[in-house]
């Protein structure tokens, strides 16, 4: 949706004021409410669905497969499908590559290793049914919830199979919870001197720039990078923006993790 000149002026002026006046009254560090559903796909090892208050919706399935990691050392595949975008479009590809990079970097293959020869390989499929603002953060929340509700079959055969070659054997119905620390991604919009977390679509339209920050293992991780939220309002930003952003994420992220964990 294209905004009118006066709408943009009104928004920009409000968002760059001190303190910022966001169009839905949120504080700079406040997220929009989300609804989260897990464990609804019995044929997947883990699944989640997240719905944001603006109707953006993302579904994630996690499936695991046993592979010989001496042959195939890729232990994670992320596949992104965004309705309304071609699979080979720049937008979809870039989101897919960011997620693959972050998850491969942060998840440990050790946690997936079964025996000295075999380990689980995770297939994370992301389906974005609808999105109005940049979906990256929402997707990462959904992946977080899916991986944290993923259960894998329990190994009952020996974990040393280099001397005696045998295929791993699993318990008939006992499952073990996947124990991984999943990174989260946060998007912020930079407007004037302000930093706004979880920008809505109209806020993204007037933003001067966007930043993605990774949060893993209870601290800020990499990558930290810029993303384009719109095409015509882009400006540079200074170190103060980055400092404010990192401070804000450091303050918010633990609470987001807590809320997603549902404790």
């Amino acid at each position: 949706m294209v905004l009118s000149v006066t709408e943009k002026a009104y928004l920009y002026e409000s968002l760059s004021a001190v303190p910022p006046l966001r169009p839905d009254g949120r504080a700079a560090h406040q997220f929009r409410p989300v609804e989260l559903f897990t464990d609804f796909l019995p044929t997947s090892n883990g699944s989640s669905k997240i719905v944001a208050s603006d109707g953006s919706e993302c579904i994630v399935s996690v499936k695991a497969k046993v592979v010989d990691h001496t042959v195939d050392n890729e232990f994670l595949v992320v596949d992104v499908d965004i309705a309304g975008h071609r699979d080979d479009s720049q937008f979809v590809l870039s989101i897919g590559s960011i997620l693959t990079k972050v998850l491969t970097q942060q998840l440990e293959q050790r946690g997936l290793q079964l025996t000295r020869k075999y380990s689980f390989k995770l297939f994370i499929d992301v389906l974005v049914l609808s999105s109005y603002s940049h979906p990256l953060s929402l997707i990462s929340f959904a992946i977080y919830a899916a991986l944290n509700s993923t259960y894998l079959p329990k190994l009952i055969s020996s974990d040393d199979d280099l001397d005696v070659a045998e295929l791993p054997l699993f318990h008939d119905y006992d499952l073990e919870k996947l124990d991984v620390r999943v990174p989260l991604l946060f998007t912020v919009a930079l407007v004037g001197n302000n930093v706004l977390i979880d920008p809505a679509s109209n806020e993204s339209d007037v933003a001067n720039n966007g930043l993605v920050v990774t949060w893993s293992n209870g601290k800020i991780g990499t990558p930290i990078m810029t993303i384009g939220l719109n095409d015509d309002n882009v400006k540079g930003f200074g170190s103060s923006h980055i400092r404010t952003t990192l401070e804000m994420i450091e303050k918010c992220a633990p609470q987001v993790v807590k809320a997603l964990d549902g404790i």
Binding site: A17, D24, G25, R26, F40, V256, K258
Partner: protein, 370 residues
Amino acid sequence: MSLLSVRKPNKCIMSTGTEIISVTKRKDGFQFVGNLESDFESDIEMSDSENQNQISGEAQDGSIVTPGELVTDDPVWMRGHGTYFLENKTFASVAGTVSRVNRLLSVIPLKGRYSPETGDHIIGRIAEVGNRRWKVDIGAKQYAVLMLGSVNLPGGVLRRKSESDELQMRNFLKEGDLLNAEVQSLFQDGSASLHTRSLKYGKLRNGVFLQVPSSLVVRSKNHTHNLPGNVTIILGVNGFIWLRQTSEIDLSNHGSTISNVNVPSIGPSTGEYKPGQNSVAITRLEEESSWEIYSDKNDPISNAVKQTITRYANVIRALAHCEVGIAESRVISAYEASMAYDDIGSLIEKETMEAIGRDVINGEKMRGNA
């Protein structure tokens, strides 16, 4: 693999609210909030006794019908929207309620896009600039048309349109611009032709836009209201809403609306010009119709007014969330109810929105006009 999934009835729903993010979590379930009985029934048996309840009799006024259902076999009725005629019988083509007005029988769908009617006060967004016309997105099935000849141009109403006007159409209205207008007429295919030939209509500025389902806005005499807090609302019949800082023109045109809420309207509300309170003398019109009406600049707006606008926007979203009809009085009482929440940002939470919706409805019941 179990072929039959029996879902556990103990759904655990928890909500974690903090000031930063609220996550509502549901485990072991999708978005079915279905009744628990159906969780226990597994396979569906072929019923021997068909549901016989709809066989006899005609659908009553206000009752729900679904596509293919017989509404009446009495051929005297004229068939309106949402019905079709087959072998002397009238059937429903949409799911909705039956309405009988005079001889006209129609089914009003429970949901659907806005369908324009002549005289509607609507808000639209320019989608395309074409040859002597603008295409306007009004949330209907098709774009509406606004002819160059149906707008006031700088220089007054009596001025002739010239070729140079055609060349500078984007200087008046361009893609993305918002305007309020009246539906002047309908084309054969149901799309609307608009006009802005009155000072109440034209390009919108000094405010924010929001959208609600059009079914929530009821057609009434007046759709522009000055609200407490120096804010003016334009409630488009199409569900597009504009909230702006009250201007002098708003004050002079509609200053008395608040005290007039309960005065019944006289006659149909479709006329554009009514001698008296709502009209402006030709000379004034000429003055006002300078380039300023197509200005792309906002007036200075104080933070206090902006915050009030945001609060109004949030309470309107809350009313829409509760699927409550949106009218001036309700917006004001929701605004008052929202004052219990100091932080405007807390109004986006589901529970808060529902609480405000309940407050408004209960308030009306107490006053006895529900």
